[in-house]
Point group: C2
Chain length 246, copies 2
C-alpha cells in the first residue's frame, strides 16, 4: 500500500457538493468511482482537506487515498485525467508518507470569493461569480475587515447547523481587489467553519451597500448568534483556492 | 412601428446554435419567445448579423426587430434581461431608422478563437476554450498568416456545405497573442463563410504542430477545395466578438 496526495480542481456547477450522497453527483462520488474502476472493482475511499457545498468551486482542493498499485506519479496523473469527467481535473499527484492526512495535517486554507460588478449580467460568469447591481462603499468595507482579522469566536458567522463545538478560528488575511469587472475577496486562515466565508462575504457586502455600519462587525462577533450577521452569499462565487501544509 | 438594434452576449454551451430549429433550444428561438411574450402573444421575428453554430459564443452579436411598443430604451434593456435566461444578455439597445438591417448593413466582423495551452485540462475553461496538448511553433504560424491576409477566394476554408456562390472575402487582420494560459486568435474581415474561422484555426494549428508547412497556405487557397485545408477546430473555442457598421 502507498499513500497518494492529489491537488484537484473542479467546477462545482454540476455537483451537489464534495461529499458523497446517495443518488447525487458529488466530487467524492465521481473520484471514488474512477479509482474503484482503476482498482478493478475494489472500493477505494478518498479523504479531502474539507467539504465544499453545492456549486462551490475548487482550484486547489487536496485529497489523499491509499493504493497497492505501483504506478509512476506521471502515469497516475494521466490515467486519472483520462477517466475523470471534464469538470474535474488532477493538477498534481505525489506519493506521501502513510501518516499524511489531507485534513488533519492542513495548517491553513485560502478561499476566494468573486463578485461581478458589471452593469448587466455576464452570461459567461453566471456560474462563477455572484452578480450584484449595488454600488459598494469600499472604504466602509475595508474598515469592517479590521474587526474580523485575528482570532475570534466565529459562531455568528457560521451556519446554525454547524456541529463543531470550538468555533474559535484565526483569520490571518482578508483583502479584496478589483480584477476586470469583478471584486475578488481573499480569505486566509487556519480553518473555516460551515458557510463561514459566504456569511462573511454577505455581511461585508451589507456594509458596502450601507445596510450595516462597519463597526457593527465587532458587535456581531460578540453576540455569538448567526441571526445578527448578514445573508449567506451564493455558493457559485466561492472557490477553495489553496490548502497549506507545514 | 419602431426598429430596435440590440447588442447581445451569449454563452453558446447549451444552445443548438443561433438559428431557429424545431424542438431545439436556439438563441433566436429563446429571444423570439421572450419578445412574443412581451407583445402579448403577437409573434415577433428577429434578424441577426449572421448565424453562429452549436456551442459557439457571442460577446457582440447584433440583432434587430420591429415593435409597436413605446418603451424607453433603458426599460427595454431591463425588461429583456429580466425575462431572458441567464446564458443570454442584452448589453445595449437603441432605436434605429427603419432601414437599418443587422446583416445587410454590417461592414465587417471580428471573431476570436481561444486555445487553452495548459498542461492539464482546466475544468473552468472546458466549454470556453479548445484545449490542446501540442507545442506550437509560433514563428511558423505567424509566417502562414501572411498568405491569408488580404482578398482571396476562401472556398478551401469553408464547409463543403456552404451555399453562397461568391466565396471571395477580405481578411484585414489576423493575429494571435498569449493571455494567461491561452492563445487568442483575432480575425477581422468584411465577411466570413460557413465554418471559415474554425477551419482557418484548425489549419494554422496544423502549421504550429509541424504537420503542415507555413507556405502550404498559398497552395490550399489556390486549390479551392475544402479537403486540402486542416480540420475544423471545435465550436466551443469560437466567439463572435464584434460586428462593425459604417
Amino acid at each position: 500500500m502507498g499513500r497518494l496526495k492529489c491537488k484537484i480542481m473542479y467546477d462545482g456547477t454540476h455537483f451537489f457538493g464534495y461529499q458523497v450522497q446517495p443518488e447525487k453527483r458529488t466530487v467524492q462520488g465521481v473520484i471514488e468511482g474512477v479509482l474503484t474502476q482503476l482498482h478493478k472493482g475494489a472500493p477505494v475511499r478518498i479523504s479531502a482537506s474539507g467539504r465544499t457545498d453545492a456549486h462551490v468551486h475548487a482550484r486547489g482542493q487536496i485529497i489523499h487515498f491509499d493504493s497497492p498499485l505501483q504506478i509512476p506519479e506521471e502515469n497516475w496523473l494521466r490515467a486519472l485525467n483520462a477517466m475523470l469527467p471534464e469538470d474535474i481535473s488532477v493538477v498534481h499527484i505525489e506519493r506521501v508518507h502513510s501518516s499524511f492526512h489531507s485534513r488533519f495535517d492542513a495548517s491553513g486554507k485560502e478561499y476566494r470569493y468573486f463578485v461581478n460588478l458589471g452593469k448587466t449580467r455576464d452570461p459567461f460568469r453566471r456560474n462563477y461569480s455572484y452578480h450584484t447591481g449595488y454600488r459598494l462603499d469600499y472604504a466602509a468595507m475595508r474598515e469592517s475587515l479590521q474587526y474580523l482579522i485575528g482570532t475570534h469566536d466565529f459562531t455568528s458567522f457560521c451556519s446554525a447547523k454547524t456541529e463543531v463545538e470550538d468555533r474559535v478560528r484565526t483569520i490571518s488575511e482578508i483583502e479584496f481587489f478589483e480584477c476586470d469587472d469583478e471584486l475578488v475577496f481573499r480569505f486566509v486562515g487556519n480553518g473555516f467553519l460551515y458557510n463561514m466565508v459566504r456569511i462573511l462575504v454577505g455581511t461585508i457586502l451589507e456594509v458596502g451597500t450601507g445596510r450595516k455600519h462597519a463597526s457593527v462587525m465587532k458587535e456581531i462577533l460578540e453576540k455569538k448568534d448567526r441571526s445578527y450577521a448578514g445573508k449567506t452569499a451564493p455558493g457559485h462565487g466561492l472557490y477553495l483556492w489553496e490548502v497549506f501544509y507545514n
